[in-house]
């Protein structure tokens, strides 16, 4: 059995070159996608990263209490409004002082897409030398599951409940990663937890790219508690998100957009939504709206990957 | 202490005039303070600035309501009531105008100086920005300053060819201003 699977096995373990700096038991919900991600990052990038995070699901573990901590990393708990500006201040001072550094600005979608988008965009425009990682669980989960800019059409949250006058969220989600790629930064990518080798490669590329400036990775990280997903299904949700093109995996190196995983025959989005309770109430017509949005985003992405293959980002003056 | 009020329009260098004079006073070991009347500054809009010049440190941080000297860079304001408001008895006025007619009447005005600063500036720097001509003319009219510190002060605001042209402007202002006792 093991022999047979070996050929298919991911080489992800080869990328885990560093210690897991987190305590064995931490205060995340069962099946939390965030936990896998936050343990993974320092094992790939090294324990000498300086990580910043905001009030969020990550905070109880990253922040610690009083003199106690869940991990051994250098950590700065920042405000949601200015997370990217905090990381900017760190990275700029280290550069001035000649201190070798990898600053990882680690935030949820509420910070990245909503309240902290202005300073995220500003840091990208200034090509600040650090890595920004958005773990996207499609809402404000720590405060009890409220809608954010990346919450998809039809999803129920406590501020977009399903009712006679509401489909759940009645608006479409924004595409944060594409917006970031449009900032002409050295590196932008999407990733998820069902393809950890892809994620590891992207983390290392981001670390390399931040020598030239801003690196952004958007990680799709389901929230079993908030979405109504069985804890053991977290990775399956990620897998289906990729296979339906609900969350395509791509990267933009120096502006060149390229798919890192092409799905030959994408499954309908309903194969993804059916294992997630927050979509339970959607009828066929509603699902079609979601499907159309997924198709639209993928079409744009495909078009850009063709276009940008021909359009090289000009070398910046700082290079 | 001499309290001076400057009247002109945005683009004429009204505030700079008062700054250069404050600078020139400092170069003689005296003290100067200059500031603009607050408001949105736009090219063409009326501008008022204030200057206090003294041999002692200037401590007041208020606008000037009773000036000893008026400096009018904008000819259209030569007979404006607002310009003369609060002028102290025995007051002086320096006017930038091509019209040398002495049809200016104010009970408190005792000394008038007129110079066509726009014309001189046009000739020397190619632009009708009268401020540095006015600086030289002010030194002559007020008798409070020599022309040298005025020319030295220009170094803080201009360089190269512009500096030498503006020094000529200030010197011509000093020499060509016409003084009248009223």
């Amino acid at each position: 059995m093991i022999e047979k699977k070996k050929g298919k096995m991911t080489k992800v373990m080869d990328y885990l070159k560093h210690e897991d700096p987190f305590s064995k038991g931490v205060a995340f919900c069962p099946g939390c996608g965030l936990e896998l991600l936050i343990r993974f990052i320092p094992q790939v990038l090294g324990n000498d990263i300086v990580i910043t995070g905001t009030p969020s699901c990550s905070a109880p573990v990253l922040l610690g209490q009083n003199s106690q901590s869940w991990h051994k990393l250098s950590y700065f708990g920042t405000l949601m409004t200015g997370a990217a500006a905090n990381a900017t201040g760190l990275a700029r001072y280290y550069r001035k002082a000649g201190i070798e550094n990898t600053v990882v600005c680690f935030n949820g979608d509420g910070t990245a897409a909503d309240i902290g988008f202005g300073n995220l965009s500003g840091a990208a425009e200034r090509n600040e030398p650090f890595i920004y990682i958005c773990y996207d669980n499609e809402g404000y989960m720590n405060t009890g599951i409220q809608k954010s800019g990346t919450t998809p059409f039809g999803a129920t949250t406590t501020t977009t409940p399903f009712g006679s006058a509401s489909k759940g969220k009645n608006l479409r989600r924004m595409n944060l990663a594409l917006k970031m790629a449009m900032h002409k930064i050295p590196y932008a990518a999407t990733a998820t937890l069902s393809d950890l080798e892809d994620l590891a490669k992207k983390l290392l590329k981001a670390k390399e790219a931040k020598k030239r400036g801003f690196a952004f990775i958007h990680v799709f990280a389901p929230c079993p508690t908030g979405w109504g997903v069985a804890p053991e299904n977290t990775i399956e949700v990620c897998r289906r998100a990729v296979k339906t093109n609900y969350f395509p995996l791509w990267e933009a190196e120096n502006g060149k957009i390229k798919m890192t995983r092409t799905v030959r025959k994408p499954k309908p989005v309903s194969t993804y939504t059916k294992i997630i309770k927050k979509f339970n109430h959607l009828n066929e017509a509603d699902l079609q709206i979601l499907q159309d949005d997924v198709d639209y985003e993928y079409c744009i992405l495909g078009g850009l990957s063709v276009l940008e293959a021909e359009c090289q980002l000009p070398v910046s003056a700082e290079d | 202490m001499s309290e001076v009020r400057f009247h002109g329009r945005g683009g004429q260098g009204v505030v700079t005039t008062s700054k250069i004079l404050a600078n020139a006073f400092a170069r003689t070991g005296q003290f100067g303070a200059s500031f603009p009347m607050f408001g949105f500054e736009r090219r063409g809009a009326p501008v008022t600035a204030f200057g206090r010049f003294s041999d002692k440190p200037v401590r007041e941080k208020t606008q000037i309501y009773n000036p000893d000297i008026l400096v009018v860079l904008d000819p259209s304001q030569r007979n404006s009531e607002a310009v003369f408001q609060g002028l102290r008895p025995g007051g002086m006025m320096l006017l930038n105008d091509s019209d040398k007619a002495l049809n200016i009447s104010n009970g408190n005005l005792k000394k008038l100086a007129i110079i066509d600063a726009n014309k001189i500036a046009q000739e020397e720097i190619g632009l009708a920005i009268p401020n540095t001509v006015i600086v030289g003319a002010f030194a002559r009219m007020s008798g409070l300053l020599d022309i040298e510190p005025c020319c030295d002060a220009l170094q803080d605001y201009f360089s190269g060819k512009k500096l030498s042209a503006n020094i000529v402007c200030a010197k011509r202002g000093f020499e060509e201003v016409e003084l009248f006792d009223l």
């Binding site: 051994k72 201040g89 300073n119 500003g122 | 700054k19 309501y65």
Partner: protein, 408 residues
Amino acid sequence: MNTKVKEKSQIKVITGNAAAAIAAKLVRPDVVAAYPITPQTEIIEQISKFHANGEMDCELITVEGENSAMNAVMAASLAGGRVFTATSSWGLAFMYDAVLATAGARAPVVMVNVNRETPGIIAVSSGQQDMISTRDAGWIFLIAENCQEVMDLVLQAYRLAEDYDIQVPVMVHYDGFYLSYLSEVVDVPFQEDVDRFLSVLKDQPERIKLVPGGKLGCGSHGILKGYLELRHKHLSAMERAKAKIDQIDKEFQEIFNRSYSGQIEEYRMDDADVVLVGSGSMCGTIKTVIDEKRQAGVKVGLVKIRMYRPFPGEAMVGALKGKKAIGVVDRSLCFGFKGGPMYTELKAFETQLDGSKMISFIDGIANTDITKANVGQMIDSTCDLAAGKDVREVTWVSYPEAQEDGGL
């Protein structure tokens, strides 16, 4: 550029904003965040020019808003850097969350706030309401009277903020328009003297810094006792700052030959019967009026508040105790109270003043000029109070209509 070279300095005629910018250059900051707002913009323009000309070797972050300005310098400061930024009014409001967090983190940030009003967007006018609205953020507040003091207070602010025993952010305030755009004579210190003045900090123990691999967490106060411990230590550091600014001012005098006597400045107070208490640019005008009144035999003096947070209560009591009457001039409002904020706070010390009577003056808001006539009126009213006459508790000096307005 040098107007005149003296032994210790260069004389220049510059604005308050230029003085702040040059001071920021002289302290050799590692990181500066820049965002424009009237009437502060000239500061960051000048710094950008210094940076572009290679005169200032700092990381200049041209942020996309004030909130990021404060967040960036807070983080750079926690990482170990010397930092500077400047703002005013709405900019201060927009960074308010980060202002609180910077204090909470005890990041020794120095910021200039050029005072401006904040009731609506076109209030591009004088007033200290921005400062007052931030007074309990946990920062040290210093207030300058003239362009020279702007320069000198920025230099002193670094000694205070970064002192190992203090480690509290410092905001240097000065009046927008009245000082920001005022050009006057300023002694600009030489670089080597500023270096010497600041070198004391290098001899102190190194503060804790957030560095890669350092296994340090920051940004949180925890809860319960851990939280209380940090807050109490912060408050204690604020208390220590009072004596510290007095000491720093003495050392400043030894190097630069100028002194401001620390937390408060007393002007003609020795034999004064009546006193005005004020802050900022109004104090220059008040001093000239006091000199005139003194010639007419009125025994009047001034107490100028230079350090507003922590409130210099003990120093104020020492200066004011036993005076017949005190008039406190506020350039801002204290909603919920009739009198101005500084008046209201000084009232807390009333029982220690041995019977001094107090009244409040509100003036200088929204570009209403605190004229010599206005100051004269304030002194006359305070003399009336001393003479036992019936005087209104609160007077809006430039708005006599307030007397007809109910409630006040």
